[in-house]
């Protein structure tokens, strides 16, 4: 084992898969000469050259669509969005062209492609730059969606996504790029399958379900809650939203009989709502309390920091939700 950053983990995944397969290439704004707006692709232009590490104009719809076409012809594009807030101008390519090709062609064509980049609110960027898009993409059959919240997953999920023959949306977290953690040695091939949630902390009293940037927050909070409230929380990192691993969720709740879902996104028609539907429909009788959800407060993200801290799921609101489901 060794310790690297989330940023390095993403980069390792890209480099390893590009070394392994000539048909994989990276395309996006500032990924080459600038070494990446968030330095994910640092050094990759030097290593792979301009043929495979490609700077684009500010044309998300254009290069996302170009990637879909290249994938139809058998290449394996990795398209970087500087942030997924900018994927909204390319939305039609992700929702119509990439996911529908297999069905519309009766199975003749598929789209082995990755859309990746940071997703979700960061820090004082305001309403236009703070979108979390997972619920949009999770709604679309034909897409797969994963949300690495740990260093291992940042590498292992992306490597799997690049080898997947379908369009996979890999939603990273800018807030985690500098975080570091343990991971296997570079020699070991680290492939983490999609659709397998990860129990990061075992606990008997309450299940906390989360993903992406709130994973470390929730893990830390679980310890605090144990000492302060003597509530022993089990923490589940979803890892992938589509496919969704409901089994792991159900098994945990069968034990704890209580669940709180923490999501970085807005509440309405979000991941929390979707998972709550599954829980109450499949294991209604296991619940000793209604499922509680902690999401953004339902307003456009304000610039002011105190307001932003309040809008984003924070310790106070998560703790209140845990107390609520535990009737404390």
């Amino acid at each position: 084992m060794r310790t690297i950053t989330y940023r390095e983990a993403v980069r390792e995944a890209l480099i390893e898969e590009m070394n392994r397969d000539e048909s994989v290439f990276l395309m996006g704004e500032e990924v080459a000469e600038y070494n990446g707006a968030y330095k994910i692709s640092e050094g990759m232009l030097d290593q792979f050259g301009p043929k495979r590490v490609i700077d684009t104009p500010i044309s998300e719809n254009g290069f996302a669509g170009l990637g879909v076409g290249a994938a139809m012809a058998g290449l394996r594009p990795v398209v970087e969005f500087m942030t997924f807030s900018f994927s909204l101008v390319a939305f039609d390519q992700l929702v119509n062209n990439a996911p529908n090709m297999v069905t519309m062609s009766g199975g003749q064509f598929h789209i082995p492609m990755v859309f990746r980049g940071p997703n979700g609110p960061v820090h004082a960027l305001g309403a236009t730059h703070s979108h979390a898009t997972e619920n949009f993409y999770a709604n679309v059959p034909g897409l797969k969606v994963c949300t690495p919240g740990t260093i291992r997953d940042a590498k292992g999920l992306l490597k799997t996504a690049i080898r997947d023959d379908n369009p996979v949306v890999v939603l990273e977290s800018e807030k985690l790029y500098n975080s570091s953690g343990e991971i296997e040695d570079i020699e070991t091939e680290l492939l983490i399958p999609l659709g397998h949630a990860n129990v990061l902390r075992e606990g008997s009293d309450c299940t906390l379900i989360t993903y992406a940037q709130t994973v470390p927050t929730v893990l830390a909070l679980a310890e605090k809650i144990k000492t302060e409230l003597n509530v022993d929380c089990e923490v589940i990192d979803l890892r992938s939203i589509r496919p969704l691993d409901t089994d792991t969720i159900f098994q945990s709740i069968a034990k704890t009989n209580r669940a709180v879902i923490i999501e970085q996104n807005r509440p309405v028609c979000g991941i929390g709502a979707q998972i709550t539907y599954e829980i109450q429909h499949e294991i209604f009788d296991e619940l000793d309390a209604p499922v509680a959800r902690v999401a953004q407060i339902d307003i456009p993200m304000p610039y002011n920091e105190s307001w932003e801290d309040h809008v984003f799921p924070n310790e106070t609101r998560i703790t209140d939700a845990i107390k609520e489901v535990c009737y404390l």
Partner: protein, 330 residues
């Protein structure tokens, strides 16, 4: 094609094949219209009648390994590329024997074996895909060009713009063909842009551009052949406006009140099939009888395709979840 232009016999054989291809498309579309009226075809159905010379002439100028991709008015494109009438009619009927297994429908014809990449129904959205196909060819250093077709209404979509800039910036070997049939649904070209000529839009990207008469199949073939010949060397994209006319309404449900009977009649006087027939006859490479025979062959094949489609099965409901993800998917 360009190379073999020299030998007169091969030319004649090839040209008679072009005539047959146009007759096939015409016969297929007329039969499809009839079947639609009989309620055997669902959704939207956009006919290609009148525009046959565009696809037949341009496809005659490229190689089988070259790529083509188009919009939703795609029956002619599949047929010209070699998809059988049976597979096309079966697709319209939603049958498993269709070129998209009955899951795509009229607007979403695909034929991988014939390098036909669809059949795309969101206006303009496939134009970046065309750039991507050309990108893949360059990435692999293949001697392959891509022909990407779209209508006169598609040039006002953002996707068109972003793709055109990328194609010129990266020198992608894609021939963008705007099939200017005068109308986007009920909107005549002059009501959608202040440009005098559609191909002038290439100026805003420093992309080579030109126009050709789409009712003259030889002109289309030769013009495309020249462009593609250069493109195989330079890899540079080209924007070609092909002027044509759609005889029928936008889709089967459109009475086309936005244009006069006279206008349609005038257009039909320059019918691409009859014009070409007369040329071949006057040059002695075709007789009236041979033409009639060809026409009959095409019409018989078209009605055959209806029988085939009628007798084909629906895709089995047991396969409902088979086509959401790649068939190779674990």
């Amino acid at each position: 094609m360009t190379e073999v232009q020299t030998d007169p016999n091969t030319v004649t054989t090839a040209e008679l094949q072009m005539l047959r291809d146009m007759l096939d498309i015409r016969a297929f579309e007329e039969r499809a219209a009839q079947q639609y009226q009989m309620g055997k075809i669902g959704g939207f159905c956009h006919l290609y009648i009148g525009q046959e010379a565009v696809i037949v002439g341009s496809v005659a100028a490229i190689k089988p390994e070259d790529y083509i991709i188009t919009a939703y008015r795609d029956h002619g494109h599949a047929l010209a590329r070699g998809t059988t009438m049976n597979a096309c009619m079966a697709e319209l009927f939603g049958k498993e024997t269709g070129c998209s297994k009955g899951l795509g429908g009229s607007m979403h014809f695909f034929d991988k074996d014939n390098n036909m990449f669809g059949g795309h129904a969101i206006v303009g959205a496939h134009i970046p895909l065309g750039a991507g196909l050309a990108f893949a060819s360059r990435y692999r250093n293949e001697d392959r060009v891509t022909l990407c077709y779209f209508g006169d209404g598609a040039i006002h979509q953002g996707a068109f713009h972003e793709a055109f800039n990328l194609a010129t910036l990266w020198e992608l070997p894609v021939l963008y063909i705007c099939e200017n049939n005068g109308y986007a649904m009920g909107t005549s070209v002059d009501r959608s842009t202040a440009l005098e000529e559609i191909h002038h839009r290439g100026r805003g990207y420093n992309m080579e551009h030109s126009a050709v008469d789409g009712m003259d199949v030889r002109a289309v073939r030769d013009h495309v052949a020249n462009i593609v010949h250069d493109m195989r060397q330079t890899h540079k994209p080209h924007f070609l406006e092909i002027r044509t006319y759609r005889y029928r309404g936008h889709s089967m449900s459109d009475p086309a009140n936005y244009r006069t009977k006279q206008e349609v009649a005038r257009a039909k006087e320059g019918d691409p099939i009859l014009t070409f027939r007369d040329q071949l006859i006057s040059e002695g490479s075709l007789t009236e009888e041979e033409f009639k025979a060809m026409q009959k062959t095409s019409r018989d094949a078209a009605s055959q395709s209806v029988t085939f489609a009628d007798n084909s099965p629906d895709p089995p409901l047991s396969d409902l979840h088979k086509y959401t993800y790649a068939l190779t998917d674990s």
